[in-house]
Symmetry: C2
Subunit: 523 residues, 2 copies
């Protein structure tokens, strides 16, 4: 017997089994699963009354609030497609994504009313603007719509290959691309996460990770699948986080290493208030040894490094803890935990391959590109067959991440593949050179990119931001690298700059540096 | 992107990630995953050379041995269908199942050579008889076939809806029926088990449960999915079990309550040798309070009661532990652990319904039939559309089990539905009356069935086996029931018998008692 693999199934199950359990805590608001789903069902009903049909797109620009979370059920359960937008983007980017996705309804938190209103005239397809909270002229009030209607929406048949969300990538090189995620994609990512990371109805999840980030890595549905409480967090602020950790007896959260640093670098008195035994996932960059030390030793938490891309729903690797890892020193363990790890039981086949598609040796040295095929890989980019064809070749998705494979089979990312510098036939990981330079006491930030070189083809160029009040020189920095890395990895050129060009999510836009679009010329 | 959901995927993954890990221990034999899969691949190759094609059936009659386990990979990975047969059946039953399944190849352990040879002439479709161990005239030697060939079998495209096994039910009422399990069915049961029961590559599984029982509840594949060691056990004998528990550092096993009793009822010195912290699943009947007490208090193990049928791959409910359960006394906890529990995250929708298909109240009293729809439900009975139509109605599989639902949503089986006695409009659970009679010190075994009654329509009839050397009377037993249960539940008739008719798996054949086929007449 086949029943569609869909996260919506978890709503049905939670209604049956966890109706009286706490579903959502958002500030002073507390909702049981019964109350939460009543709101979701009412919103489904209201959307249908506004003419939303199967396949229609509904966009959200909102922090981690209960009404945002409601969208993850109300929209897909009527066969419509959720488009969660990064609220840190500009009004022009909102405009691009809303138009590109053809969203019919746009649901917005008050903080972004103004930005959306500023581009409203350029959004011809949008039929309704919904104020998730508060009120404003030209906006319909979410809460009023819920109250006016009822919860009896029309059931819509959903196939597992139907889209559940379109998630726009932030795009370090080009316009955002719309990643098409099916119900089955999301379901399989949820299974994979739960197989490797045991959660129970007693767990309580803190929403440090934005829901718009690959659907909060699908924890929007994972927590519900296990009947857990979603503890909303609208702003990543250490004092609020510690208050919630304690008051809400949080047991699990996810955070990028930068967020993790802001959580760990607090006064000891504050740290002491946090419950022990919290488990957390980190992704996006390897966690620093210093962070792991504070997390494990001072806080008594357990950190797992995971890896994926929006295009893979997202998890395709987990640095699964082994009993043997616990025998290592913190320094050694930090090295192991910096690895992205191994494929999950259900994420699909993962290979690190060279230019000829041959797997690289498990030597911890040879760079290859991470490729994957499996049920978590997106259907493609929305209305963009060209980018889709460039990313998925012969059934394999090419991540663009360059990695080595260690002898234990755990892979470790060394760079974005396009940022690998090929100099005199040797591969140079820009991340490795950056890491080396960051150890120099004068350097605050650095980006290394490959530039054309007459003799070597390409050579590294370092763009350096110094700490306020510190000085350094090209000669000093060159010497620093030569003392620590192979000579051919030493940058040929150095530029001292006041800041680096970045995307809304904080990623350095290396293509701008390479193209000389920052107005900096080579020294 | 869609890739077939199949347990064969775990073979690929284990080859990649766990090649040097211990895969199988069987007596003195130890195989790494690399060695194990080399054998599986060689056997696939040999099967193809013998003409086995996609969709062909290959039968096994074998204990829990490494060669039996190899069949769970070698057969399905070439698109063929495994037919694991209960070795406790008679030669005639072997004959029936081999013929009904149309098996082309029959793989047999030496203990069953004779039985198979005795019906060989009546097996026209069988092309090859394989001696999994040893040798005999007319039998091909498994080990020789592996050695002679190589591991390069021809890859066969497998769809997730293809059959992976046909499992014959033991049939308390009729001929065995062939339950058709797809690759997707099995995959989803594996996911569900792993989501609720966290296992890691460090876990080591002891094969107390027969592999032929619903594919060892899919642990034939679960252990491999997690890179765990399979510790084979060919005979359920307490002394061997305790030796293996200790020597092989076992962390997990499954056992029916009767097997569990034989494991727990051993001298204290033997018990003391067992590692603490072992986790185990039990199913088939609720574990007794006394057993739970020994398991938890004396052995320091953790017991979980699960529920399912061969037709549901099999798990559809798990008595998931709650933190609150640990506050209960052992007696209270035994009552909770006797419940079959709640639907798994991925097993599908489970409803306990009355005659009109309406869900029964969560009152712990109203009996209904357990029904389920979901991705673990079989495709149907092989070559038996009539039985299939009787079991699956309007997309729901009817289990034939009668249960109540408690206020926490946990269901508890009270009887097989057909064994519920309807007397004067009241439902009487035969299991409840049996449980009451079993508390009488003179009674060793008892079966209660409904018999026609002039006034009440039906009334209970108890078939009683007394302990050797004990005596009792109808009047005494009737009084015993009246003192403990509602009066209408008291058996109208008692028969004292020397034993009860049972199937090969030890289930009482109540239909024989009802039909008077045991030669016992009502007193």
């Amino acid at each position: 017997m086949k029943v569609a693999l869909s996260p919506i199934e978890f709503a049905r199950r939670a209604k049956r089994l966890y109706s009286k359990n706490e579903a959502v805590v958002d500030g002073d608001l507390r909702l049981t699963y019964e109350e939460f789903f009543d709101r979701c069902d009412r919103w489904s009903c209201a959307l249908q009354k506004m003419g939303v049909k199967k396949g229609d797109r509904v966009a959200y620009i909102a922090p981690n609030s209960h009404s945002h979370l409601e969208g993850y059920y109300a929209v897909p359960q009527i066969g419509a497609i959720l488009v969660p937008i990064n609220y840190r983007l500009s009004a022009e980017e909102f405009e691009y994504i809303i138009n590109h996705s053809g969203s019919k309804i746009v649901c917005v938190h008050p903080d972004y009313f103004e930005a959306v209103d500023s581009v409203r005239e350029k959004l011809p397809a949008v039929e309704q603007y919904i104020a998730l909270e508060g009120k404003k002229d030209g906006w319909k009030e979410y809460e009023r719509l819920l109250l006016e209607g009822d919860a009896t929406y029309e059931a819509i048949e959903i196939a597992e290959d139907d889209l559940i969300t379109i998630n726009y990538t932030s795009g370090t090189t080009a316009r955002p691309k719309g990643v098409m995620i099916t119900h089955r994609n999301a379901y399989m990512n949820i299974m994979g996460t739960l197989v490797h990371h045991h959660l129970t109805p007693e767990d309580r999840y803190l929403w440090t990770l934005p829901m718009f980030h690959a659907n909060g890595w699908t924890f929007t549905w994972i927590n519900t699948a296990r009947g857990m409480a979603h503890i909303c967090l609208r702003k990543v602020e250490a004092s609020i986080i510690y208050e919630l950790l304690q008051r809400e007896r949080v047991t699990m959260f996810c955070a990028a290493p930068t967020v993790l640093i802001s959580i760990t670098n607090v006064p000891e008195e504050l740290r002491a208030t946090a419950p022990k035994g919290i488990r957390l996932f980190t992704a996006g960059a390897p966690p620093a040894a210093a962070t792991i030390e504070i997390v494990e030793r001072d806080l008594g938490w357990e950190l797992t490094h995971v890896y994926g891309l929006t295009e893979t729903t997202p998890l395709i690797a987990i640095c699964e803890p082994r009993a043997s890892h616990m025998d290592l020193t913190i320094e050694q363990r930090a090295k192991v935990k910096a690895r992205q790890g191994i494929e999950l039981v259900s994420s699909g086949e993962l290979k690190v391959v060279d230019d000829n598609g041959v797997e690289v040796a498990k030597d911890g040295e040879t760079l290859g590109e991470i490729t994957v095929r499996g049920n978590v890989v997106m259907t493609g980019y929305y209305n963009d067959p060209e980018s889709t064809a460039a990313a998925i070749k012969d059934g394999w998705f090419y991540t663009g991440d360059a990695a080595v494979v260690h002898d234990d089979g755990y892979l470790e990312i060394r760079d974005r593949f396009k940022d690998v510098i090929i100099s005199g036939g040797e591969n140079i990981s820009s991340v490795e050179v950056e890491g080396c330079l960051l150890h120099h006491p004068a350097i605050l930030e650095v980006a290394v990119v490959g530039m054309p070189h007459e003799k070597w083809g390409e050579a590294p160029h370092a763009f350096v931001v110094l700490h306020a009040g510190k000085t350094s020189s090209e000669a000093e920095l060159r010497l620093h690298v030569r003392e620590n890395l192979a000579h051919f990895k030493t940058p040929q050129w150095f530029s001292f700059v006041s800041d680096l060009p970045k995307t809304a999510t904080g990623k350095v836009q290396k293509f701008l540096l390479r193209d000389g679009k920052t107005g900096i010329s080579k020294q």
